[in-house]
Symmetry: C2
């Protein structure tokens, strides 16, 4: 699917203006209707809308498995995904609303401490990777990103095992790119339990919570984490690896899952 | 104010793991209480919280001028800003809710067309800049960003006139960085009408709408715009300049405001 549009532009230097064209990444609204309630409108790259909707609902804790889905209808033209489950959605609106709107004034920071985050259970996994495997995965990921990314305007994310990239997605939003990965895994029955997530973007608290919700033990980025991302990773049993560049990386939490040739 | 935290990390190569420290950017929740209603919790860099709260409210159309503010109380420790105006806030909750949650299934893309965007009036300004002025401003902006940005994890934004950077802010979120700029201008009476906004991030529809709301005629980035950002800029009378790198740039809309030595 083509996520870009060619637009007329002026290319300007100190002395000249020239009419030409540029390829620009697309941004479109996607409205998710969950059990007949309009839940949220996301701004996203208009591809893999089914994966994005399912991943978003899973990240919000509104969907646990494929079996819960009774009906999934994608209207790409209007930018609408309808999803129905057996459960009622009375609490759904409030839950998502809560996340964006009222995540606890009185509670402030404590809302974001792991103990309190929607009863999130720490990830348990015996997965171990070698430093060399991490470097190789990142190299492969960056190759994929170059191939998919014509316009420089998008983020990418992937689910991997120790050896290979299994699923790759891109989106103008780094949250959306991760949700597309998680949604596809849920829909297609791809196990995430002993998986590794790679993201092109910063690892912040919201990214970390998405990964924790799917019980994924390792997250990797060439970018930086935030302090809250690191705190949640430490509390939730996730190995957070940042600044993977060439043959070096920083491991911010649960370094026991990473082994080197030396140990 | 220090927006970073030093954390213990493992620095890992193919053969070695070494305990060391890394400086990580801070991420904290900020809850905005508007006329005694808890309106929203943003995740942000914990500095300039008054500017962020005021800028967010202005971008949402809930605050037009400093004179409307009856009371502004910042509790940096708890991450709460309380703001009171003369007006009631009955519609505020709904407005923000609407933006995030229900921006129009039936309306889909049309919600994001300029004619429909909250009655937004096109920007009118006679401002003209030379290509050389744009290149010089971007160079200065990148210098500021390098100085402020120790950890690589943040976005920056600035308000400029044709010659100088007037206000500079940074935040983990590109939306927040712009809101901090706009909030500071509103609080300190800095005119934005003939101003120029520079951002380190992608120019998407939401960024464009913030700028339009403050009647700012030019926005500049070293990054790419989205197609929806370009469409809104064209419709709302804003000059959108992207990919400013060295002595080249792309002008995506209203190129008449940019002059060169040649014309």
């Amino acid at each position: 699917m083509d996520n870009t549009e060619k637009l007329p532009i002026l290319r300007v230097t100190q002395t000249e203006k020239n009419d030409t064209e540029d390829v620009v990444t697309k941004e479109s609204p996607l409205t998710i209707i969950f059990n007949d309630n309009e839940l949220v409108t996301l701004l996203c790259s208009p591809a893999e809308l089914n994966y994005l909707a399912v991943g978003f609902l899973a990240s919000e804790g509104l969907l646990k498995s494929k079996e819960e889905i009774k009906r999934l209808v994608v209207d790409g033209h209007r930018g609408v995904v309808r999803l129905e489950t057996d459960k009622g959605s009375e609490s759904a609106h409030e839950l998502v609303f809560k996340r964006f709107i009222s995540s606890g004034c009185g509670r402030g920071t404590s809302f974001y401490s792991a103990a309190d985050v929607q009863g999130q259970v720490p990830v348990s996994s015996q997965l171990v990777v070698s430093a060399e495997e991490v470097f190789t995965l990142m190299k492969e990921f960056q190759h994929c990103s170059r191939v998919f990314r014509a316009t420089g305007g998008v983020h990418s994310a992937a689910l991997c095992d120790k050896k290979d990239i299994l699923v790759f997605s891109e989106d103008i939003g780094r949250h959306n790119a991760i949700d597309k990965i998680l949604g596809r895994c849920l829909l297609e029955g791809i196990a995430t339990d002993d998986g590794i997530i790679i993201t092109s973007g910063r690892i912040s608290s919201e990214i970390l919570l998405k990964v924790a919700k799917r019980n994924i033990p390792i997250i990797i980025s060439k970018s930086a984490p935030t302090n809250l991302g690191v705190k949640l990773a430490a509390d939730l049993g996730i190995t957070l690896i940042g600044f993977v560049r060439g043959k070096r990386m920083n491991v911010y939490s649960h370094g026991g899952r990473v082994i080197t040739d030396g140990n």
